[in-house]
Amino acid sequence: MTETSVYERLKSAIESYQPAATATVVRGDAVGARIVLIDGQVSGSIGDAAFDEQIIDRMREHLAESRSTTESIGEFEVFFESFPPPPSLLIFGAVHVAQPLAAMAKMLGFRVVVIDVRPKLATAERFPDADQLILEWPDVALEGMTIDRNTAIAILSHDPKFDEPALLGALATPARYIGAVGSRKTNVDRRQRLRDAGVDEESIARIHGPIGLDIGASTPEEMAISILAEIIAIWHGRPGGLLAQSSGNIRARV
């Protein structure tokens, strides 16, 4: 980032959740030369047009895989850094647990959206970290959203007339994680009601309920950690559990 403007532009892209990538020469004659890709727009140059084109193709490939790496290309050693848009967490139910959940999810880099119909609960005072507060019923809120695989959904209200439309709506999306709060019995009953309503078993199997990893969570803060730990594990295809009792890479491969 040899120019202020590159930093400012990257910062603005990151803060507005636009995909961005940089390619920087880190060894060789042209150290510091850089190409920047923000939301599909290219600026900067490393070599001639054909060489830049080759670099830009690699930038797109790495960004698609959310990968940062250094490669030797021609006479240059080039560091590719990817800034993919962050995952989103949709929280249905602006309840007590939702507060530490929203705060901790922001700390982890999620874009956080909180949805509830109760104006007393879904307030900016209670959710200072949330990117968006939506005061609507779940089906209405979901209509206005584009939900992709980079989305986790936590359904927390404990009220079936809010939770179930949220669940039905969530199951109609490709969200990578759908968790629903409630006791073991609540979850058995809920699954039966969904079955009775004609939801297929494959969809029902997508629901993580009771929500969270089994860490004995009881306070809202502990529950938030349990839920986020489960989401991180799902994101990385890991089962959760103790590292001391498993083998293999500690870190997920990026």
């Binding site: 980032m1 040899t2 120019e3 202020t4 930093y7 990257l10 910062k11 990151i14 803060e15 920087t24 880190v26 060894r27 150290v31 510091g32 940062s68 790496t69 250094t70 560091f79 850094e81 990817s82 800034f83 962050p86 880099g109 870190r251 990026v254």
Partner: protein, 106 residues
């Protein structure tokens, strides 16, 4: 870098110049992955990390030099056992850290 934006902005607003150190290559086992960043200001502030704490002090000094000269540099930290408590990585890996001025130096 995402997690450092807040600190970087605060330092710059108070008139400090900032260098960014990024892990660009990892060989073997290393405490932090490629892409890990640490920001350093000429006012002596430091945020983030490029290793678990092994080489941060050395990177801090390199960053001051980068801010003084305005020239980016690539530094390799590797590791012999005798060095492990000096400026090496205790866990035996090798990392390359690219340090650059955020605002062009001078």
């Amino acid at each position: 870098m995402k997690e450092l934006l807040h600190d970087i902005d605060a330092w710059r607003q108070s008139g400090e110049r900032v260098a960014l150190a990024t892990v660009v290559k990892v060989e073997g086992s290393a405490p932090r992955p490629v892409g890990a960043t640490m920001a350093v200001s000429d006012g002596g502030n430091l945020a983030g990390s490029v290793s678990g704490g092994c080489v941060e002090t050395a990177v801090f000094e390199e960053a001051q030099d980068v801010l003084a000269t305005g020239k980016p540099k690539l530094i390799r930290y590797g590791i012999s056992d005798e060095m492990a408590w000096d400026v090496g990585l205790a866990c035996g890996g090798t990392i390359e850290v690219y340090v650059e001025p955020l605002d062009g130096g001078q």
